[in-house]
């Protein structure tokens, strides 16, 4: 190699090594700058705070492992790099750590699949005990002029097992699930039950509009409203009242926020490039108000499935007094979803006096704890 070529090669190596050093130092540089930031990762997750260092924690290695976790959670490049990882994982393995990818890209969450397979079955003894508790709670509430209504919301895994990714998407007839037992027990013991899991399974081949968004975990708006209208019809019947009606018509163009609710599982995958989630029907929704119609007082105790209705903001048009107790642990407030109030701060006895109708909504997954603790609370208050 002649002298000039050697010089050029030396210069090239110098530049390359300099670039390498810059790349190595880039994460630290990113951390201390405030000009560039990446979109926060979707989903609910914990962020570790900077650990306190003490002689004991350093000598035991506790500080070092907590610091490693702190770095993992707080590095500013994390959203970009996690998305790179998730995108590669999806492209190569067609898998995601956050969701279950079914056939033709249908998305599910693992807990509903586990519920479908009966992996979370609580046992017949507990189911009987909880049913008995529900019966007693219902009696006590009836004595006070309140109506207890159970709603079994439809689970995507239950309704569309053929779309699950596993070879065995059929469960054997003798598989015991919480849903299968409760759906029979509650009705057989005279409780007011709306079983939309059964209804969706029956209607899935004839439904004009999609029952679920491809990339969503929850029922579609259209079918949720249809189901809620049935529940309101039940309230009307039980309370001998006439309520406002929710009417759906035409095609609405959803806001970004409304559309994102139907792509929640795709968002949870935290990909670099969006998945094809297909179209979903967004009806124009309005509440029709007749002269002799009244707004009942309704308390809803539910998991995230009621959130589909809650986020439409229709409660104030449909109900007089209303509240949504999420898992009977926090009080949901549309204006302050980030920092919900804890139920522990409420006087449940006082609160219950405001409501005439109490809807307890479950999906197959949350049936592990029928009533979320509400039934026990009622029995404790009213001496079942």
């Amino acid at each position: 190699m002649d002298c000039l070529a050697r010089m050029n090669k030396g210069r090239l190596s110098k530049v390359i090594y300099f670039v390498i050093l810059i790349m190595l130092i880039m994460p630290i540089c990113f951390q201390i700058q405030n000009f560039v930031s990446f979109k926060k990762l979707e989903g609910v997750y914990e962020i570790t705070n900077l650990p306190m260092v003490s002689r004991r924690s350093f000598l035991s290695g506790e500080f070092q492992s907590n610091f490693e976790k702190f770095m993992q959670d707080n590095i500013k490049l994390r959203p970009l790099l996690v998305r790179i990882h998730n995108q590669i994982y999806y492209w190569i393995f067609h898998e995601s750590k956050a969701v279950v990818i079914g056939k033709k890209g249908e998305l599910f969450t693992q807990e509903y699949i586990d519920a479908f397979w009966g992996k979370d079955f609580v046992g017949e003894k507990e189911i009987q005990e909880k049913t008995d508790l529900a019966i007693l709670a219902n009696l006590k509430l009836k004595e006070r002029g309140k109506h207890l209504i159970f709603v079994l919301a439809p689970s995507k895994a239950d309704v569309f097992p053929e779309k699950l990714p596993y070879k065995k998407s059929q469960i054997s007839p003798d598989t015991k699930t919480n849903y299968a037992q409760y759906s029979i027990f509650l009705k057989d013991h005279g409780l007011s039950v709306f079983d939309f899991n059964k209804e969706f399974k029956q209607n899935k081949t004839t439904a004009v509009y999609a029952l679920y968004p491809k990339c969503g975990a929850h029922w579609s708006e259209y079918w949720m409203i249809d189901s809620m209208n049935q529940v309101f019809a039940g309230i009307e019947s039980q309370g001998q009242i006439k309520m406002h009606q929710i009417i759906t018509s035409g095609w609405d163009t959803p806001t970004k926020e409304r559309a994102s609710r139907n792509n929640e599982l795709e968002l949870l995958m935290n990909l670099l490039l969006p998945m094809q989630c297909g179209q979903i029907y967004y009806p124009v929704i309005r509440v029709s108000k007749g002269e002799d119609e009244i707004k009942p007082n309704v308390l809803v105790i539910a998991d995230s499935y009621y959130g589909t209705f809650f986020r439409l903001g229709l409660e104030r048009q449909m109900f007089e007094n209303y509240a949504y107790y999420y898992y009977f642990r926090t009080l949901k407030d549309l204006n302050n979803e980030e920092n919900p109030q804890s139920i522990e701060n409420l006087d449940i006895d006082l609160e219950l006096r405001k409501f005439d109708f109490i809807i307890v909504m479950h999906t197959t997954h949350s049936l592990q704890n029928l009533g979320y603790g509400f039934l026990e609370e009622v029995c404790q208050l009213y001496n079942c």
């Binding site: 190596s13 790349m23 630290i28 609910v44 997750y45 070092q64 976790k69 993992q72 990882h85 929640e264």
Partner: protein
């Protein structure tokens, strides 16, 4: 501090490499010692004083040994220092093992001791032994300065996971580190090697780890035969890519810093005999044991019985060195048995049946012996192997994800690549492609390495990230 921790990759490594570029050459040794102590202190700070004390002791006693003309004194000092090193290792690593093994003796009873194991003690004990013996034999004079000895033992690239570097191989490199002109080409080469190691560890070994762990945690008599075989194959790939990945990282880092470390792996899964396997797997360990144990025992100079006895001793020690548990000893002795058999007749049979069949048989043996390496309980390990040869349909408790199969396939393909590279077909294909000039080759290598580094970082960061759709109680 692990090489694949964020603390190392994002904080320690850039700071050390930048610092190394900026400091004067004469300060390199001190800089590396301080970095290495910081590296070790991040893991187990409480052992630093003990370590420094014992190393100081070693250094000055070895000087006395070297200067002495009295052969008996030299021998005594050598044995004393060896005894000290081995005693320290025995105390930290094997106390509970000894008490467990001899618990039937009343004096030992049913004790367990809460003894924290110093990181890398197995490796730096061997380095101390090498130092003492090489000086005793006159293979190389001892270091003039204590800082040189400190650097030999504590140099962070090899401190916690090797390779095992004999004193005489690296002594001059350490002494002359201030004089070495580290070219940018060498640094780039070191970096690409380091990135290769990171990729092997994070993108292959770590992806196989959860599946392998779930297979070996389960009861082998309840898992399908296919899953058992995939479990062992997964472990074979996991341990190879993990260990060789670490070796690549160590060698790469050393190259950047101006050192040349010996290779530690050379396509071990292409071996056609167990003897060959040990010339390709953990090469530096084999070399160390050969030089400092096998040869002093007599090697193969005193007839077959003596040779075979030496094999057994060496592999017994090798097994025990890997872990304080009888399954490691069994694993070591199994390999010793195979080497003895190969020496007796099996080697001739291998020669007759050809490299493909002998290679297959060798890898089957290696695969099955890995079960004893992985499973601590000997009964369970034996049960595992038995279950591998009894057809049983799985019960789906351990799902075999496509990702696991893909990574396993990729790992196997990488192991077989050298065979392809040697083939006539490959050479004829190569001649048809244009030869890119060195500059383009260099840039491509670096780009690929940086790509591997970024992807590995992404996988490391995503590892602990598992969001929920909504807050769950």
């Amino acid at each position: 501090m692990s090489f694949v921790s964020l603390t190392f990759l994002i904080v320690f490594l850039p700071v050390v490499l930048f610092g190394y570029e900026l400091i004067p050459r004469t300060s390199r040794r001190l800089f590396l010692i301080c970095s290495s102590i910081a590296f070790y202190a991040w893991g187990v700070p409480q052992f630093i004083p003990i370590l420094l004390l014992t190393l100081t002791f070693d250094f000055y006693i070895v000087r006395i040994l070297h200067k002495s003309n009295n052969a008996t004194l030299k021998k005594l000092l050598c044995l004393f220092l060896l005894g000290l090193s081995i005693s320290l290792l025995a105390y930290y690593k094997y106390t509970n093992f000894l008490f467990e093994t001899f618990s039937f003796i009343p004096a030992f009873g049913d004790h367990t001791f809460n003894i924290l194991l110093p990181l890398g003690i197995s490796f730096f004990t061997f380095h101390r032994i090498s130092y003492v013996i090489d000086v005793y034999r006159g293979s190389h004079p001892p270091f003039e300065q204590f800082s040189e000895y400190l650097l030999y033992i504590l140099l962070f690239p090899q401190l916690i996971a090797g390779p095992i570097i004999k004193f005489k191989e690296i002594a001059d490199q350490i002494t002359n580190i201030a004089l070495v002109q580290i070219t940018n080409q060498a640094k780039i080469k070191g970096f690409t090697r380091f990135c290769l190691g990171v990729s092997k560890k994070v993108l292959i070994a770590d992806l196989l780890s959860p599946f392998v762990a779930s297979v070996f945690l389960a009861n082998p008599s309840q898992i399908g035969t296919g899953t058992l075989w995939l479990g062992v194959l997964g472990f074979a790939m996991q341990i190879y890519f993990d260990f060789s990945g670490y070796a690549d990282m160590a060698i790469g880092l050393a190259t950047i810093l101006g050192f040349k470390f010996p290779e530690n792996f050379s396509n071990p899964y292409l071996s056609t005999s167990v003897g060959e396997f040990w010339r390709r797997w953990h090469i530096t360990l084999g070399s160390f044991l050969r030089e400092y144990l096998y040869f002093p025992l007599g090697g193969n100079r005193n007839g077959r019985i003596s040779t075979y006895r030496n094999y057994i001793v060496v592999f017994f020690i090798s097994g025990l060195w890997h872990g304080a548990s009888w399954n490691f000893v069994v694993w070591g002795l199994l390999h010793a048995s195979m080497i003895i058999l190969e020496d007796l007749n099996l080697g001739k049979i291998y020669h007759r049946i050809g490299p493909v069949v002998s290679g297959f048989l060798t890898q089957m043996f290696v695969l099955l012996s890995w079960v004893y390496f992985k499973v601590e309980n000997l009964v369970t390990a034996t049960q595992y192997i038995k279950s591998m040869f009894m057809w049983r349909k799985g019960n789906d408790t351990i799902p075999i994800e496509p990702s696991v199969l893909s990574v396993l396939l990729l790992a196997n393909a990488i192991c077989l690549l050298p065979l392809v590279a040697k083939s006539k077909w490959w050479n004829s294909c190569k001649s048809k492609f244009p030869q890119f000039n060195l500059r383009i080759q260099l840039i491509s290598q670096v780009v690929l390495s940086l790509f591997g580094w970024i992807i590995s970082l992404a996988f490391l960061l995503a590892n602990g990230f598992s969001p929920f759709i909504y807050f769950k109680f």
